[in-house]
């Protein structure tokens, strides 16, 4: 194509060139005419001033490559007149799934509204309990019910000691029936309980040592 060969920066000359190319390749002309009205046959080649006009990825902040295991501790010091708690876990347990989920959502939104920083909001695996009913005349246990216990945890940090009792009171008064509430500090053991243990790896390690 003549446009490729010439590659000039002069606008007028380009138009001439394109006119020539249009005459030379009528098929392309048809394509251009048949397509969308906005479809243009202009393409920015690398020497054109508009090259790279749509670039934006270089403006975004650099993403650090994600590690497999997250950092564990973010403890704060609990001394001084500005008495602030470190990470606190609000644990809600219940047999009723909808109730505990909605309550966890409510607590999360309450903390957002009161500008308390929420680190994480996650669920612990459900535990299934089988309730066995002992017959009165007989030794056989009969399956009566299957109960599932659900647990949701909302982790907050940066709670000041003057505000903490008020928050706790609000959450306590809005507690629904059947939901157990527990507020405790986040420890390493809590973090480890979320991770699954790998027995084969442990066995191999034990064999090595």
């Amino acid at each position: 194509m003549s446009a490729v060969v010439l590659c000039s920066r002069n606008g007028a000359l380009l138009k001439q060139v394109f006119a020539l190319s249009r005459a030379a390749t009528p098929r392309e002309d048809h394509l251009c005419a048949a397509g969308d009205a906005l479809l243009s046959c202009h393409r920015s080649y690398r020497s054109r001033p508009t090259h790279g006009i749509g670039r934006y990825k270089y403006l975004l902040p650099k993403e650090t490559p994600k590690k497999k295991k997250d950092r564990v501790q973010m403890k704060e010091i609990n001394t001084g007149t500005e008495y602030e708690y470190g990470d606190i876990n609000i644990q809600m347990t219940s047999y009723d799934l909808c109730l505990v989920e909605h309550f966890a959502q409510y607590v999360h939104r309450l903390c957002n509204r009161l500008s308390v920083r929420v680190n994480e909001s996650y669920a612990m695996p459900t535990r299934t309990n089988e309730v066995l009913f002992l017959e009165e005349r007989g030794s056989k246990m009969q399956l009566d019910a299957v109960l599932t216990t659900h647990q949701r945890i909302v982790q907050i940090s940066g709670l000041s000691s003057t505000f903490a009792p008020i928050l706790l009171e609000i959450i306590q008064s809005n507690q629904p029936e059947g939901v157990h509430l527990l507020m405790k500090e986040h420890t390493e053991a809590d973090f480890k309980s979320r991770l699954k243990s790998r027995p084969e790896l442990e066995e191999l390690l034990a064999q090595m040592t």
Binding site: T81, S161, T162, A164, P165, L168, E169, I170, Q172, S173, N174, P176, E177
Partner: protein, 255 residues
């Protein structure tokens, strides 16, 4: 350390205000409050909306029930098959449901409105199970006998929180299991003594309020030393003076 030194210096001066620590002992509600008419309508509407949004799936029991219903239908339509035999499922899901319904009918819940409510016996803890109950004690201040939250004078060298705990112990005995949540007071009420008693050193008094939650509702071991009452927030107005009531109402949460 510098802060501590400053505090010690000011404590040595004679301050004109006498300090008291008062305890607001709350018994938390045992039953949820009943919903008002609008709240019930909204709850029904939200349940409908959520049911469509969340698209909950059938549980195991419901799936089993549906399958068995289909099996029954098939058996009726295709005349009795000998191969089915006495049936794999000895207990059908429908039977289980009937059994559970019967159990539910046998279950009788405890009454929400107790005897104490009917008698309006304000000294018992069983009244008004759906709202907070507070402890009020009759105390002698100056020459008057007033209904107040239990309070005791602060002694130098102890924290205000321990003053409040002491106030609770003096009026209810040592075996009360109550939990105070924080070290900070919830409110303050200050008043000046009438001119007859006022001296340069004793201008007035400041009362700091602390809040505690009653853990166990078993107060049989408590020995009340004076007249005491358990009242809700609305009934406070019958007993407390207006200024005092205003300050107390500020920190009472009634949901």
């Amino acid at each position: 350390a510098a802060r501590c030194a400053r505090w010690v210096c000011t404590a040595a001066e004679r301050r004109p205000w006498r300090l008291f620590g008062a305890m607001c002992l709350l018994r938390l509600p045992r039953v949820t409050q009943e919903m008002e008419k609008e709240e019930e309508e909204v709850a029904a509407l939200m349940a409908q909306v959520r049911g469509e949004q969340e698209k909950s799936c059938y549980s195991d029991h419901e799936i089993r029930k549906l399958e068995e219903e289909e099996q029954l239908k098939k058996r009726k339509e295709s005349l009795y098959d000998d191969d089915e035999g006495s049936g794999k499922t000895l207990i059908m899901a429908q039977d289980l449901e009937d059994k559970w319904e019967q159990k539910l009918l046998q279950f009788k819940a405890a009454p929400r409105i107790t005897d104490a409510d009917k008698n309006n016996n304000r000294t018992s803890l069983d009244r008004k199970l759906d709202s907070n109950l507070m402890l009020l004690v009759k105390q002698k201040i100056g020459n008057q006998e007033l209904w107040l939250l239990p309070q005791v004078e602060w002694q130098p060298g102890e924290t205000l929180r321990s003053t409040a705990e002491r106030a609770m112990a003096t009026f209810l005995g040592d075996h009360v299991q109550a939990k105070i949540l924080g070290n900070a007071p919830y409110g303050i009420y200050k008043y000046k003594f009438p001119k007859a008693i006022r001296t340069e050193d004793n201008v007035g008094a400041k009362v700091f309020f602390f809040k505690a939650f009653l853990q166990s509702s078993d107060l049989s071991r408590a020995e009340p030393k004076a007249d005491h009452l358990w009242v809700t927030k609305n009934e406070l107005g019958d007993y407390l003076k207006s200024e005092y009531l205003k300050k107390v109402n500020r920190f009472l949460l009634d949901l």
